[in-house]
């Protein structure tokens, strides 16, 4: 320490000086024949420096105390209002973020629940419609067969090609002709009625959509238009100008439903596509196989018996 050994400027090693060091500094004397400085002047000068340094150090100590006092006060104020140490502040921030995350999670979960309910409801109705259609189809068919049978029975039995012994209609006979004519007559009637009801449904759909659009314009679009299938307006419905070819993405041969129109550009329309609001696979017209032994193939909506576009292997 400086206090034990007299300070020598020549031997100074860069340690910080104290005012005592300056006051007590010993300068080595010059060798004879060379000019030195006045020792008294040096001493006086050093005293002056030491005084100023003392002042500066005192000032620093006071300032440090002041900083400490202020810092304590600031922390004290924070502690009084929040009652929290820094560690706890971190825990609180974590809790705030946790709450925000939880809220976001709930919104997403609610939206998913809502869409799940909607979809499940749609599935149920889909099943119901299919079941009804199957029942109706078999009633129509029974009716057609009964009418056809009655017509065949009316054919005079005098002709040698009448009913065969077991009551069925032998092929190529007049009775068969009468049977087929009556059968197709009944089927045509039903088909016409069915088409009428289909076009009525489409009109209703369009009306609902327009109402939906109108209400969406006036009110907040919270739930969108009450359109039947997907609630989205279907741009594919807009009549295209006759001479302007429609853009490729809307030009698919089965682009009649909102499901189709809602999908993005660049679709490969060569693939089988969703068509209408009712079924996922084309118009819901049952396939009739004509003829006395005709069957309504009710089981195969949706099963693609054609060749799938994708190869396997």
């Amino acid at each position: 320490m400086y206090s034990t050994n007299p300070y020598s400027p020549a031997a100074s090693n860069g340690d910080p000086m104290s005012p005592q060091d300056i006051r007590g500094a010993i300068f080595s004397t010059t060798r004879r024949g060379r000019r030195g400085v006045d020792e008294n002047e040096v001493r006086e000068f050093c005293d002056k420096i030491a005084d100023q340094m003392t002042q500066a150090l005192n000032q620093r100590t006071a300032l440090e105390a002041e900083v400490r006092r202020l810092r304590d006060r600031v922390l004290g104020v924070r502690g009084e209002t929040a009652g929290a140490a820094p560690d706890e502040a971190q825990a609180q921030a974590v809790n705030v973020l946790t709450m925000a995350q939880r809220t976001a999670d709930r919104y997403v979960a609610d939206a998913q629940d809502y869409s799940r309910e909607l979809a499940q409801d749609a599935h149920l109705r889909h099943d119901e419609i299919l079941r009804e259609a199957q029942v109706r189809a078999s009633i129509i068919l029974d009716e057609a067969h009964a009418a056809a049978q009655a017509a065949a029975d009316m054919v005079p039995a005098s002709r040698e090609t009448g009913l065969s012994g077991d009551g069925t209609v032998p092929p190529g006979s007049d009775a068969e002709l009468a049977y087929l004519r009556a059968f197709s007559q009944v089927c045509r009637t039903h088909l016409r009625a069915y088409l009428d009801s289909l076009s009525k449904s489409i009109e209703e759909w369009e009306r609902a959509e327009q109402q939906g659009l109108a209400s969406a314009r006036t009110s907040a679009p919270a739930h969108g238009a009450p359109a039947p299938a997907h609630g989205a307006p279907a741009p594919a419905h807009a009549p295209a100008p006759v001479h302007a070819p429609a853009p490729a993405r809307d030009a698919g041969p089965v682009g009649v439903g909102p499901g189709h129109a809602a999908r993005g550009a660049g679709q490969d329309t060569s693939f089988r596509d969703a068509a209408g609001p009712g079924s996922g696979d084309g118009p819901m017209v049952p396939r009739y196989a004509t003829g006395p032994q005709g069957m309504v193939r009710t089981g195969d909506f949706g099963t693609d018996v054609g060749s799938p576009p994708m190869s396997d292997g």
Binding site: Q112, H123, D273, D304, D312
Partner: protein
Amino acid sequence: LDPQRLRESFAHVAAHGDEVALFFYSHLFLNHPELRDMFPISMAVQRDRLLSALGHIVAEAADTERLVPFLQGLGRDHRKFGTIAAHYPAVGDSLLSTLAYFSGDAWTPDLAQEWTQAYELIAEVMSNAAGEAEQDEQPAWWDAVVIGQERRTMDITVLKVSPTRPLPFVPGQSVAVECRMRPRLWRYYSPANAPREDGTIDFHIRLIDGGAVSPALARLAGVGTRLRLGSPVGTLTLDTTSPRDVLLAAGGTGLAPLKAIAAHAAALPNPPRVHLVFGARRAADLYDLAAVEKLAARWPWLTVTAVTSHDPGFDGEQGSVADAAARFLLRDPRMITHYDAYICGSPDMAAATAGRLEQVGLPREQVFTEDFGGSGE
């Protein structure tokens, strides 16, 4: 390390349930906001995963033979999320703080030390495995593009995708799929084919009502949609060393991995006899029956039974897949033990079918199943 002590400590913390993972992620994101973007908006599924992974690690802490491969797989797998070595200490800090917070008075410097060491070990194994995968130039993920989209039913779509780099997999495995429409949400799907010359892959997507990802894949994805695929995982693959014949039991889109297994068999010099039972609720839901029947016409060793559970009008078999599979085995009771059975479908269907096959006499070790049916939603 003291596995018993870690287990007890974790059990104490895990008793707080969802709170634990909530705290963990909030802590992590507060200290490293840049990491938030690596996660989806809704964190509910993520939290379950974190807790179950931690639980798994702690439960297996004593069994390094099993734990190390699990951690290595986890480390490699995390590359597809964009995880890098620098993330591990950040996660460690938040994990330790979380454990401390929920341990309360039980948290001693001693226990902290124990957990710190355990985490450092875990992080080391994971990041080493990731680093090795990096050095072997295994991709963290594969970019792919949809080149074919076919809606087979109201809620089943078949996507044909083409990865930009070859994606090697074993038929029956699955890969995680992420699509642009639902970023940071990955769902597992099985390729429905064996690896092809042109590298293309078919995915059978079933739309799950209210699901986050499957509706987007089933309805929004079209030709040109870009996907990311993770590395193949899973063990439901054909045992090519088995001398036995093969029974495949598929429920719905559970068909995908089993169709791939059939294609795998086709590539063998001596294919086993393979019988596929393909079941659905209604005939309309047998979305790929035409294709598998075509395969059966081409491969004489493959036979197919279609079965519906809710379609009295269907002219195939009636009942559950379990029913049809058991009927198939019982048609020749002496031959039951000569089969390996592979099952894929909903968890309920898989459990019911496995149970039924064991019940009719198929040894348990010849029944293979995997309990993710390709969704996780």
